[in-house]
């Protein structure tokens, strides 16, 4: 057994024991732990920042970019935000033990379902050390034990944060092993985690495509994953064009480096001539690069470059918009079926029937009518928190909140019923 496998065996066994006790704990105890974690993060600010300084020095020595170093930095404001985030999670309703239905059967027994934790969650994330606190808070709130594996650039910061979290659990008489941190930069530890089927119920990778691909290939543990966000805004022939302009601009430009930003604009041919020229001028004025189909370039001759086929399949995460004029709603739906990453699509229309058809036909984690694609987000949807956005179909689609970290088991209340 390698050192990494041995370590994961130990962490896994400890996590299972902790998960059992956490699942049986009261919501009050879990909230007390969360509030103590938040206090601990604030009280240990100096310790966190001196640990962080080690990571920052190593980052500079290793030639990380200024942007990367910035993401790594635990400023006073970042620490305050981490603590506030953990407190907010404490304030959410307790999902554990909720009975979602209970119905009598003809023989008199009641059959229903109870929401329970998944068990042990493995989270693999990159860079930002605040994920350590955010993710752990959601797991503890939902009664799950968690094993955290952060990026090696943040190892000192993550270790210091994890120590605050464990102390918070202990102060509420909950098992400190409910939050465990893989305290090594040995890459073999990730491999060992991915093979820990016996202990880990689910893996949540939070990072780039390379990480997610590795998790899928190496692990038989179920995964909640978030792949690309190639999101579409479709301006229908019956759109309110003023609204369409605002929604397109917001979807593309409100923030460009995020998964729910619009990557492709589809415009019905009947309104293209009225809609596209002012829309394009406004986007160009804001610094957005436009890549259009032939019809788009006819209507807007200035500064729209030809769209390449691969643009429709690319998550640019930048101020770049692909534009295509479509002849019909069907053509828009077919384009989305062929190119969407099944994350978020929106239709702008005043026509009820076409809105309903779009809503039903598009197979994405969130399908919208007359709203910005930027709204596909756990906070915006009212989940109160978010572990990421799932582009999977099974278990949970879209923003993963506390509910996504739980499952429903059947419960039966009888008074001696026998099967005939």
């Amino acid at each position: 057994m390698t050192a990494a496998v041995e370590m994961m065996e130990r962490l896994g066994q400890q996590a299972r024991v902790a998960a059992r006790s956490l699942a049986a704990s009261s919501g009050t105890a879990r909230n007390r732990a969360l509030l103590a974690m938040a206090e601990g993060l604030l009280a240990e600010r100096a310790a966190l920042q001196s640990a962080n300084a080690l990571d920052l020095a190593a980052a500079a020595a290793n030639g990380l970019t200024a942007a990367m170093i910035d993401r790594l930095r635990l400023t006073d404001a970042v620490i305050q935000a981490m603590a506030d985030g953990v407190r907010e999670v404490a304030g959410l309703p307790d999902p554990v033990g909720e009975i979602t239905e209970m119905r009598p059967r003809p023989n008199g027994m009641l059959v229903g379902r109870m929401r329970v934790p998944l068990g042990v969650i493995g989270i693999i994330y990159e860079s930002r050390p605040n994920v350590t606190a955010d993710a752990a808070a959601l797991c503890v709130k939902s009664g799950n034990a968690v094993i955290l594996r952060g990026g090696s650039e943040a190892i000192h910061s993550n270790r210091a944060i994890a120590a605050c979290l464990a102390a918070g659990l202990q102060s509420a008489d909950l098992p400190p092993h409910a939050v465990q941190f893989i305290d090594t930069t040995d890459r073999a530890a990730v491999g060992a985690l991915l093979k820990s089927d016996r202990y880990v119920d689910i893996i949540i990778p939070r990072g780039g495509k390379g990480l997610i691909q590795r998790v899928i290939e190496e692990s038989h543990i179920p995964v909640i994953k978030h792949l690309d966000g190639i999101c579409h805004t479709y301006v229908d022939r019956y759109a309110d064009l003023a609204m369409a302009e605002e929604l397109t601009f917001n979807g593309k430009m409100q923030r460009t480096g995020v998964c729910n930003a619009t990557e492709t604009l589809l415009v019905h041919a009947a309104v293209a001539e009225a809609f596209l020229p002012p829309m394009c001028r406004r986007l160009q004025a804001a610094g957005c690069e436009l890549r259009g189909c032939d019809r788009t370039r006819e209507l807007v001759p200035d500064g729209v470059v030809p769209v390449a086929p691969q643009d429709y399949d690319t998550e640019h995460l930048a101020a770049i918009l692909s534009i295509r004029v479509v002849a019909t709603l069907d053509e828009a739906l077919a384009h989305i079926e062929a190119h969407s990453s099944r994350h978020t699509e929106t239709i702008v229309t005043r026509d009820h029937g076409r809105a309903m058809r779009f809503l039903r036909a598009v197979d994405s984690s969130a399908v919208m009518v007359n709203a910005s694609t930027r709204f596909n987000d756990g906070f915006q949807f009212g989940l109160g928190a978010e572990m990421g956005i799932s582009t999977d179909k099974l278990h949970v689609r879209g923003p993963v909140g506390l509910e996504g970290l739980t499952c429903l088991k059947y419960i039966v209340l009888g008074d001696g019923q026998l099967r005939q």
Copy 2:
């Protein structure tokens, strides 16, 4: 590309196109197809039985056991039951398009979730040809396309049944490729199906452990799986002992070769002396082999063999019962935690607090109070149909009905909301 991979590419592409059209179809059209399938199965009885005769002849020539040949046989009664089953599925409420919640956000947009099909389901099953019709009916009802791979012993029967199903779809103007049958005994076809991530959204293996293990190892497609049923009946110190005797007997003996039969009886020490001797006599009289712990054998000296440690981890699927006397409810919970396959457990008690504690603490697909373990079943729970019983935690636990073949996507109805 091998022939098997080429065939799966073709089936996969056809399934995706069919799935898109089926997801958009009305419940009325899907029900019409199901009723036409049922009629077709009855009308083609002679053709089904002559195809079946080829399988039966091959089975006899290949030396299959009488029991296996019996499972293979399409008698008039089996064909009638298949047709009735498909009709019953048609009669269930349509799950597709149901909006399970819809709540306003502070900015006025409505956020909710809509139930939609998973897409393309791959089902790999063994022997019984009636699964072809049962499984396909559930998939069509829930708006999913299905690719079926049956056992090679039933290839002629399955081909004939699949032809009836495709004809039923066609008569309702639904795409016949919504139900496709892998028409080859080439084992490479299973491998190709397991690698069809691009086309298949989920694999449901219905068969023995070997099959399930192969699916998990070879495929990156999500799986709904059913592993062992090592189910426990726990007789608490506050049990009604007469009820406990009936529930134990029913759980173990009502049918022994099934996953929800009780495999282990746990008895609280305080009632063991009163409960075990008559319980054991009754089980022995019914032909059940008893394997007990030392305390059980003290109380029932006659005919109880010593339980071996591995008995507690074995799904006997036979008239064999392991018995253990436990000192406390905690000891019972710890035994279940260590040995249960997380399928079904029941407590027999009159004590409310202990019932609630058991319900919450036991992490199984169904947890019961004062009811027979034999009730963990889609029909008994009122789901109206069943694709199997999931021992997984993600997506669906326990009986998999129509809901388990669907997922929830977010829908948003706005009137121009922009993200700030």
